[in-house]
């Protein structure tokens, strides 16, 4: 790669890997070799680029040309045209649906233009498996500064002044947490990185570790120095194989370079990091359950009579920080608290990473300053709703977050505003829903998830979530009663008040927020036995419009229940007794003749 003048930065985040980016890599190397360009053009595998919807994606540097949706077959003409003849291939560039004009440069694509990267500062730019590339981008300078020019007190002061708050969900001030752990004297203290990301549709932490693992390690070492700890531990779920592999490799490289281990930078500071694999229980992301899990006990939360910063893991002072929190720490130390505190809103500083998923055009990973409106995130960066359907709701904060309606689109996103609106920041999942989404069904889905994931220790959470799930399922099945709504409201409040950990105390959010903003949908299900979005099958009636039916018999042949009958060349009919509402007839009909009511 020594004299290569062009680098092809091919995304090797989980999304692009599943779409075949390693196959693309092979094809690129083969074609470059065929044209004898292997010494001029290098293929570099990077972490998640963020624009997952368009994967596999690749950026050509130094020119900044962005290619998307690559397939094996695209590679021979691409190599010949662009890398041999210098003609970028428009066909493979991002083309916004509204203008139909391809945008060659990554920096000019709307999805990237409006983002501000701090936690994701190296995304798509470095090879996460090469520590020298991280160092060349300013890596380990924060640790060098912390060790060479700052006292532990000064480090804590700096983090406090930056007003950094935990990115894992609760938003607790990081500096205050560190200070508390620093004050408690102990021979052993622990820095734990919480990489047990379990929210459906959330992949912020996974992407950070996959794309820039050293940022997390450096943040942990700085935290270790600040609180007087020599032991770091990353709790990461075993379902993240790529992240796990790159994390282990990063730790190994950091040790080889003397950035972990004894006497780091020839100072008296020793710090090392080990990895603990979680088995994938949602509740393990909760601090006391995680502690139990590491200690080999059943992962159940326990009452927090003492702070973990005083007696946490193995009864020793413990700091538990989220991946994203730790990843921004080196930048705060390097660039100063004032710089960080200058970004964001009054009470929420800096930027936040969101995984933008659901019915939005540009699904992917985005980082924006705190206080950016939902509309900017969903419509400017996200490109709006798929198929230009109508926006209905956005669910923030994971399964225990809430669903916010269109009337709140102009709300600036920060910890306080989200909480006021009945949702939460959570770790940063953002699921966009369109008019074809039934909000009652959404509440049912999240309750089902939480019912499975509740550890069962508190009655309120174990029984309460189950009871709410039963009620909401009844409503979806058309058996809802008007009084169920008040009961749901009351149950939700009780579960919130009486659960010990955050899983239970936020479990009612999906129900309470949908009741608050989408009560009309609940009413329609109960009163009119109608699902306005056409999702809840029990409330649907399939029929065939005789005007539109061309008697092609496709539905007739495909119906698994043989519920459709009719003579040849005559409009078909559905036997409602036999119909199981599977929707196959609607899917196969070429004339839009199947109606749903």
């Amino acid at each position: 790669m020594k004299s290569c003048h062009t680098h092809l930065l091919l995304c090797a985040g989980t999304g692009c890997v599943s779409n075949g980016s390693y196959r693309i890599k092979e094809a690129l190397e083969r074609e470059l070799g065929r044209h004898n360009l292997q010494d001029e053009v290098a293929v570099v595998m990077t972490g998640c680029n963020g624009f997952c919807a368009q994967g596999p994606v690749m950026t050509v540097q130094p020119d900044g040309i962005f290619y998307q949706l690559l397939s094996d077959a695209d590679i021979p003409p691409l190599v010949e045209e662009h890398f041999l003849k210098g003609r970028p291939v428009q066909r493979l560039m991002y083309t916004p649906p509204e203008t139909q004009a391809p945008i060659p440069k990554m920096s000019e694509i709307g999805f990237f233009k409006k983002q501000r990267l701090i936690a994701l500062r190296n995304r798509g730019l470095i090879d996460p498996e090469n520590i020298e590339e991280y160092i060349a981008r300013g890596g380990y300078r924060g640790l060098a500064k912390a060790l060479g020019a700052m006292t532990p007190e000064r480090i804590i002061e700096e983090i406090k002044n930056s007003q950094l708050r935990g990115r894992g969900g609760a938003g607790y001030p990081t500096g205050v947490k560190w200070q508390s752990a620093a004050r408690h004297q102990s021979d052993v203290k622990y820095i734990i990185c919480n990489a047990d990301e379990g929210d459906p549709g959330a992949f912020m932490d996974r992407s950070i570790i996959e794309g820039d693992p050293h940022a997390v390690l450096e943040g942990m070492a700085i935290a270790g120095r600040a609180v007087g700890s020599g032991h770091g531990l990353v709790y990461i779920r075993a379902e993240y194989p790529i992240a796990l592999e790159r994390l282990n490799l990063a730790i190994k490289q950091a040790r080889e370079y003397g950035l972990l281990g004894k006497a780091i930078f020839d100072t008296d500071f020793d710090f090392d990091i080990s990895v603990f694999q979680g088995a994938g229980a949602f509740v393990c992301g909760e601090s006391s359950a995680m502690r139990a899990s590491i200690q080999g006990e059943p992962p159940e939360p326990s009452a927090k009579h003492t702070h973990a910063t005083e007696a946490g893991l193995w009864e020793k002072p413990t700091v538990l920080n989220n991946v994203e929190t730790l990843a921004v720490v080196p930048e705060i130390i390097r660039r100063g608290a004032a710089w960080f505190a200058g970004i964001g809103t009054e009470q929420s500083k800096g930027t936040k990473v969101f995984s933008l998923v659901g019915k939005v055009k540009n699904t992917g990973l985005v980082e924006v300053p705190m206080g950016t409106t939902l509309r900017d995130i969903i419509f400017d960066i996200g490109g709006g709703i798929q198929g230009d359907r109508k926006f209905k709701a956005v669910q923030t904060g994971g399964p225990s977050g809430g669903c916010l309606p269109a009337s709140l689109l102009d709300m600036p996103v920060d910890y306080e505003r989200l909480a006021e609106a009945g949702s939460m920041m959570g770790s940063g999942g953002m699921i966009v829903m369109d008019e074809d989404t039934c909000m009652v069904d959404v509440a049912r889905y999240f309750l089902d998830f939480l019912r499975d994931e509740s550890c069962g220790k508190c009655t309120a959470c174990r029984e309460g979530v189950d009871a709410m799930h039963q009620l909401v399922s009844d409503i979806c099945a058309g058996n809802g009663k008007q009084e169920h709504l008040a009961l749901l409201e009351e149950l939700g409040q009780a579960v919130k008040d009486a659960s010990m950990c955050a899983l239970g105390s936020t479990a009612s959010n999906p129900v309470l927020s949908t009741l608050r903003y989408f009560s009309d949908e609940y009413e329609a299900h109960i009163r009119d036995h109608r699902c306005p979005a056409g999702v809840c099958k029990a409330l649907l009636t399939f029929g065939i419009d005789p005007e539109k039916c061309k008697a092609c018999l496709l539905c007739n042949k495909n119906c698994p229940q043989t519920a459709i009958s009719g003579e040849k060349k005559k409009p078909q009919k559905i036997d409602q007794e036999k119909c199981i509402k599977c929707g196959v007839c609607r899917d196969v009909c070429k004339f839009d003749a199947v109606t749903v009511q």
């Binding site: 790669m1 003048h5 130094p62 003849k85 210098g86 060349a136 300078r141």
Partner: protein, 124 residues
């Protein structure tokens, strides 16, 4: 690892990183249309890359582009130094390219006798 080792690694990686970030003090664009290629653009590119390696010039990036419309004067390159107008050189040979590299890229002096025009197609 000492504190100053971070600088050493950063310095060693500068060429790679300026390329990744697409920012550098100098940018050389070799025109590689069919005309450029048949006139020997690839040899020019190789010669220039070799110069960069030999002189250990780190802050220069290479790019290719298609035909510039003046096929009779190929091989052609455009050199841009940050903050200065781009310069187009025409009718190149490997020797001319090497001289342009050492005078223009390394010493910042335009080789007027090989230059076609100054101030076109600014991209840096």
């Amino acid at each position: 690892m000492r504190f100053e080792d971070l600088d050493k690694i950063t310095d060693r990686m500068r060429k790679v990183m300026s390329l990744r970030e697409g920012s550098s003090q100098a940018k050389i664009t070799v025109h590689m249309g069919t005309c450029g290629l048949s006139a020997g653009a690839r040899k020019i590119m190789k010669a220039l890359i070799q110069c960069a390696d030999e002189t250990a010039t780190k802050d220069v990036i290479f790019s290719t582009s298609a035909c510039a419309g003046l096929c009779s004067r190929e091989p052609m390159i455009t050199i841009e130094l940050a903050g200065q107008a781009p310069v187009k050189y025409v009718d190149l040979t490997e020797e001319k390219a090497k001289r342009i590299f050492s005078e223009h890229i390394v010493n910042g002096k335009i080789v007027a006798e090989y230059a076609l025009a100054i101030g076109s197609e600014q991209t840096l």
